[in-house]
């Protein structure tokens, strides 16, 4: 088992693979409201990302165990999947947000305290290291079920690393 495999086997994505792909850059750059990134590389019996997607951007599952596949043309960045996914494996990234150095991430969040709009938070990568600061733009609870979708302004160069935030006390 090499280091990469070890990391992956402990729950850290190290490269794109089936069920965990990057959106096509051309489309992504100009897509207002952003596109979804799903990181769900294992076959598990689960499909709410598909059944809840209002536009059909998460393609129909042949088998409930399939990894999600995305038709990026159809994704509106609405972040409904972010709110429903029980694996907290869906994220939306809007590259059109702010100036050319910033982007907006819509992240699932189930910890306390709930982040406050306008406040600065730590942005953590896939192993929990703080790699930058971000600014909370909006905090929503789309399904009224205690899973928050937090909109955070982050450095654009870090969108493929940041996967959660931590409230700074």
């Amino acid at each position: 088992m090499n280091e990469k495999e070890k990391l992956f086997n402990s729950g850290v994505l190290v490269e794109t693979r089936k069920g965990a792909v990057e959106p096509p850059v051309d489309l992504w750059q100009n897509k207002k409201n952003g596109l979804v990134i799903i990181e769900c590389p294992q076959r598990i019996p689960c499909n709410p990302c598909h059944t809840s997607c209002p536009t059909g951007a998460v393609k129909p599952f042949r088998d409930i165990n399939d990894q999600p596949e995305i038709d990026y043309e159809k994704c509106t960045g609405c972040a409904r999947c972010v709110a429903v996914c029980p694996g907290l494996a869906c994220f939306v990234v809007d590259l059109t947000w702010g100036d050319e150095d910033t982007a907006l991430m819509k992240l699932p969040y189930e910890m306390l305290p709930v982040p406050e709009e306008g406040k600065s938070v730590d942005c953590l990568n896939r192993v929990g290291e703080p790699i930058s600061r971000g600014k909370v733009v909006k905090v929503l609870e789309p399904m009224h079920d205690r899973t928050m979708v937090v909109h955070v302004e982050v450095p654009r160069s870090k969108v493929m690393e940041i996967r959660t935030i931590r409230v700074v006390r």
């Binding site: 598990i44 019996p45 088998d63 409930i64 165990n65 189930e110």
Partner: protein, 369 residues
């Protein structure tokens, strides 16, 4: 016989499997008695604050305790047919006359003679032996969850989790939600045993997962102060350097095993199936055991998930109704077909493959009765 109660169907255990079996049997016209040792119905579900997987049929994306609430609401519609005894433990099955003894609380005792029985007794936790594991602060994951999610008590400040199956991963996540720090998760295998996405959730909050490691000993004088962990090789022998981890709680999540004492007592044919995590009853496609009046469902039939437990419970419910001649046969077939399809769907993934292998070792087509 004095004080002997009667019921068409006795369901033992009111977790997702037992609740579903009760609902299904009642919906087909059976009179059901449901007993559960706990103070509330719902089994493991009442402790699950996270969102479940599965499909819409199994209420995917809904938190576990909510699923329990939904089942209880449905049960409310069958008040006239389902009699519930809580805080009531089935303590014995008497083979000679098919009577089941039950104790309510600690002193009220009764005997009941059911026509048919569904055993939905769930699972028991396995524990791991290591030096100093008698010290206060060593818990099973079930106890930690009960303290935290049923009674609202944080078990400690900093927890070392042993086991990275779904339970270890989920309980770690729930502890973090309760403001408790996770010092790390120790896992003997070379990958997490639970769903990758559950591991990703705790990793991104900075929790280390020590693959191919085991707990060597607990540290502490009168209470837990930490633990020594160490890497292990292919033969599970300790190699490499020891790491000291500070923690005031060591939480074991090293697996469950089916609760099957009553099945043994009843003389059901039992087999040891590693994929189902212990001894389980042989069953047919209706979840009937080798005893013609006893069905089994849920974790008691093999450790799996609540989603599958609910469907198995439904199948057992149809099974008992069918054998009691309740409901018409086309309705039975229709429901069974649907439930078997759902089970097959749920078991189509990586984890499901293992379950299917296990089931092959303990499933017969139909008993010749």
């Amino acid at each position: 016989m004095k004080g002997l109660r009667q019921t068409e169907v006795l369901v033992i255990g009111g977790g997702p499997a037992g609740l579903s079996a009760s609902l299904e049997a009642a919906s087909l016209g059976c009179q059901v008695t449901l007993v559960d040792s706990d103070l509330a119905l719902g089994g493991q579900l009442i402790k699950q604050t996270h969102k479940f997987f599965g499909s819409k049929d199994e209420r995917a994306g809904t938190r576990g305790f909510k699923i329990s609430e939904i089942l209880l609401e449905e049960l409310d519609g069958y008040k006239d047919r389902v009699k519930v005894h809580m805080n009531c433990t089935a303590t014995g099955f008497y083979r000679e006359d098919g009577v089941v003894s039950c104790v309510i609380g600690e002193d009220e005792y009764f005997r009941i003679k059911p026509g048919k029985i569904v055993m939905a007794t769930g699972a028991q936790e396995r524990l791991l032996p290591f030096p100093n594991n008698h010290l206060p602060g060593v818990y099973g994951a079930g106890a930690v969850q009960t303290l935290m999610n049923v009674y609202g008590v944080a078990p400690g400040k900093r927890v070392l989790m042993v086991g990275a199956g779904n339970i270890g991963l989920i309980v770690s996540y729930q502890l973090m939600q309760a403001g408790v720090e996770i010092a790390g998760i120790v896992e003997a295998m070379d990958r997490v045993g639970g769903y990758w996405v559950h591991a990703a959730k705790v990793r991104r909050m900075g929790v280390p997962i020590y693959l191919r490691h085991t707990i060597k000993e607990a540290l502490g004088d009168r209470v837990i102060a930490g633990a020594m962990i160490q890497e292990i090789d292919d033969k599970f022998q300790p190699v490499g350097k020891e790491i000291q981890v500070d923690a005031d709680i060591i939480c074991m999540a090293v697996g469950l095993t089916p609760t099957c004492e009553l099945l043994w007592q009843a003389g059901c044919e039992m087999v040891f199936v590693p994929q189902l995590c212990g001894h389980v009853a042989q069953r047919d496609l209706f979840m009937r055991t080798s005893h013609p009046d006893i069905w089994v469902a849920g974790d008691a039939a093999g450790i799996e998930e609540a989603s599958a437990a609910m469907v198995e419970g439904r199948i057992a419910g149809v099974g008992v109704a069918r054998s009691l001649g309740k409901g018409d046969s086309s309705e039975h077939s229709k429901r069974l077909e649907e439930y078997r399809r759902r089970l097959a769907d749920l078991r189509g993934g990586e984890v499901g493959q293992k379950i299917c292998q296990g089931l092959e070792c303990c499933t017969v087509n139909e008993w010749g009765v």
